[in-house]
Point group: C2
Chain length 119, copies 2
């Protein structure tokens, strides 16, 4: 059992849309990820997903609205809801989601990360 | 679906050891809580518990060691492990844990909060 320093973990990688696993509890993963630019529209049929902004800001687009998320804010996207994160500038985000969650949900592509790295 | 601003939520209460529910996903709660002083020794037989320091610092005591947690650090305490949070000064903490989790675990007392408030 060891603590995790989020700032130190974020310094270990610089690529975007590639979540790293930093913790596991109760069948859920705690991940860290950096976003920049637009991601793909997708949904998760079986998983609710939480996005907590650690540094920076991004907007979460839905088919009927957009929510701007700033530092120290979080959003829970329920299963089945189409969404697309878009970051004008680099942003660091903590994710809390079931172990089964694929980053691109139902929209598999070259952006899909099948086996996220543990750091 | 609405975002949650952690700073704004923390401004809504000033008591200690009384977690508030600020989100729910996949059978888990996202809670905010303020600690000050020593809590009680306890464990959770069925729930892993995550502590993320939002502001301030505290130490998590175990029977065989102590871990100091500062801002932007988190710790996952596995089910079954006895622990006791102690805060020399006020600290604000975000908790991720199953909906079934009681704050005092197996050590029910006047500190036990049976039905945490949603804010």
């Amino acid at each position: 059992m060891e603590k995790v320093n989020i700032t130190e973990k974020l310094a270990l990688f610089n690529d975007f849309w590639n979540p790293r696993i930093t913790g596991e509890l109760n069948g859920q993963h705690v991940k860290l990820v950096k976003f920049k630019g637009p991601f793909v529209w997708h949904k998760h049929d079986d998983e609710d997903e939480m996005f907590l902004v650690v540094k920076g800001e991004f907007r979460m687009e839905f088919r009927d609205k957009t929510i701007l998320l700033r530092e120290n804010e979080f959003l829970i996207v329920p299963k089945g809801i189409e969404h697309r994160p878009v970051a004008e500038k680099e942003v660091s985000v903590l994710l809390f989601e079931p172990i089964t969650t694929l980053n691109t949900g139902d929209a598999k592509s070259e952006l899909t990360k099948m086996n996220p790295e543990k750091i």
